[in-house]
Symmetry: C2
Subunit: 346 residues, 2 copies
């Protein structure tokens, strides 16, 4: 293989020149077209080999509009992306299903609104066939940006209101509200009378739905029994400390995710409260490496996180096949069931 200056790629012109054919002929061979005599086609293929020519997918995608890649966009900053096992599990499901479809996963995240223009340009640029986005927030502009980009997309979790117009984007979610109700009913069934709630970020529908589920069961609960966290371990610890200061008599906690429950567990231990004897604790997600590994292991509301990731890909593939005119309309959104998993904490 001849030396190439760093970073330069051989052009189709170079291939044509080396093969002694016209650019049009070289192009027909490279693009698998018929109508080129075998000896000429062989010369072009030899030149392709010798020069290490790589057909420009950008050119090809003008015709096929296919890049073979799917963007996975996590609407959280990098430190959350790499520290929250929920994202890892969701991405694992997505990754396996994309691999099964021979699509390349490219992962993006969002440090803040300053990233939006750049992400919009990227999505609008024809470099991905579709996008999967999750951990969306109300009013963060990302759902609208994705809709406006007109890239076929599926959301993980129901987007909030104010998330833009444009084509309907299907989503995959779990039954957050029903799951929360089952958690709180379980605590009430244990005879607990002062059940607190550590809620997730108000601007995410999953957190809002879980708080609604709590209120469905305990519609007359003291508002002081609810404190908001940020879906992280430390925010759960802070929320637990505040709850104990406000209502030292509390006897149960429903945390809106397992990471916050793990933080609550730490504070309960530090303050000398036994779990579940003094305070019963239920989480949400049954996230790998957290719920079952906690001491005591967490009773929690399980959702099939990896399965939801796989399902997002399957819906996206249906959207993409619909673009060929074989199917009409966008697929419907899917709400998956949850299941209360009883362990030692409640």
């Amino acid at each position: 293989m001849p030396e190439q200056p760093a970073g330069s790629r051989p052009t189709l012109e170079a291939v044509a020149a080396r093969a002694g054919v016209s650019r049009a002929t070289a192009s027909r061979v490279v693009n698998g077209g018929a109508g080129v005599r075998q000896p000429l086609a062989d010369k072009v293929r030899e030149a392709v080999e010798e020069l290490g020519y790589v057909p420009n997918q950008a050119a090809r995608s003008l015709v096929t509009r296919q890049s073979g890649a799917v963007a996975v966009i996590i609407a959280e900053p990098e430190f959350r992306v790499f520290s929250d096992p929920f994202f890892e599990q969701q991405v694992r499901g997505i990754s396996r299903e994309l691999t099964a479809n021979d699509s390349q996963l490219v992962l993006l995240w969002v440090e803040g609104p300053g990233d939006h223009d750049r992400i919009a340009r990227y999505l609008g640029g024809g470099h991905v066939d579709g996008a999967l986005a999750f951990s969306l927030h109300h009013d963060d502009g990302l759902p609208a940006l994705i809709r406006d980009s007109r890239v076929p997309a599926v959301f993980g979790g129901r987007p909030g209101s104010g998330s833009g117009s444009g084509a309907a984007v299907p989503y995959v979610d779990c039954d957050n509200r029903g799951g929360a109700r089952s958690a709180v009913r379980h605590l009430a069934g244990l005879g607990r009378e002062r059940i607190a709630h550590i809620a997730g970020p108000r601007d995410q529908t999953s957190a809002a739905d879980r708080a609604d589920g709590y209120r469905d069961v305990l519609f007359d609960a003291d508002p002081a029994l609810t404190v908001q966290g940020g879906f992280t371990v430390d925010s759960g610890a802070r929320a637990m400390a505040e709850l104990l200061d406000r209502r030292p008599d509390l006897d149960a906690v429903f945390a809106a995710n397992d990471l916050m429950a793990a933080g609550a567990l730490r504070v309960l231990r530090e303050r000398g409260r036994r779990v579940p004897e003094d305070v019963a604790l239920v989480g949400f997600d049954d996230v790998a490496g957290v719920a079952e590994a906690a001491d005591p292991p967490l009773t929690t509301v399980r959702q099939d996180i990896e399965g939801m990731g796989r399902l997002m890909v399957r819906l996206l593939m249906r959207v993409l096949s619909g673009r060929d005119g074989r199917e009409a309309g966008a697929p419907a959104s899917v709400i998956m069931p949850t299941e209360l998993v009883r362990r030692a904490s409640a």
Copy 2:
């Protein structure tokens, strides 16, 4: 905005038709070209706005060969990508520097050789301006694949032999061998006489260089004092258990990274060995959330992980600007210094 079928994008033809101009005129306006009378240009811009037309970057990149995106490829499976804080720190440095350059980071990883063809197609497809790859392994084919793709690239860590021909790819590494020597000399200086080594994967140059540094100082060490791990916490624990079985008299351990040192610490505690009194322990990396957080805090060899990530981007930007003919040749590789950080473990 008029309704669009899901996933379909308005074409330049549609813009031209709506503006009542030729496709060529619409194209000139969209691509910022001059030579179009103001009233016509305004009509085209209005049509672009009304139809929500997004210029096809794939078409544009035929001319500019720029996508505005850079691929970051971690040559490890997803479970390592999301659990090793080294990767997070490296990616954080890369992410910040790419943002400063208004480039979109897209993250890829490699579950196994079965992913190579797909990644090669993606890299060859013109969807990224460059690639940064790290945690490369000998003989895994990825360095060769990246070189052969002719996408401008920078490696994190020196690639091994057998990593392909083609254009020279600069790399950023730390002084692994010198850092290892400083760790082992420190242990010897404490009067330790049976210093073991938990080595990293044999097929990574960082691990091989650190093992060489250990042998530079202890050229006559008992081979039984070296056990290989996999740069993970659990592999460090397994290696420590094996070392204690082989040589119960050992009085110091140099682990080739902090995660393995953390695993070793767990086993030493379980076996009733005090650190540092009975066994002195030194790690490598000074990775966030591990070395300083360990109990006792780890003495370790610090490398500037985030800074190396930033430097990889700066080198890539020089490669990319060199393609414009403003600079000749690829930038030289950079070896960054390391520093022994003394804490309680040795």
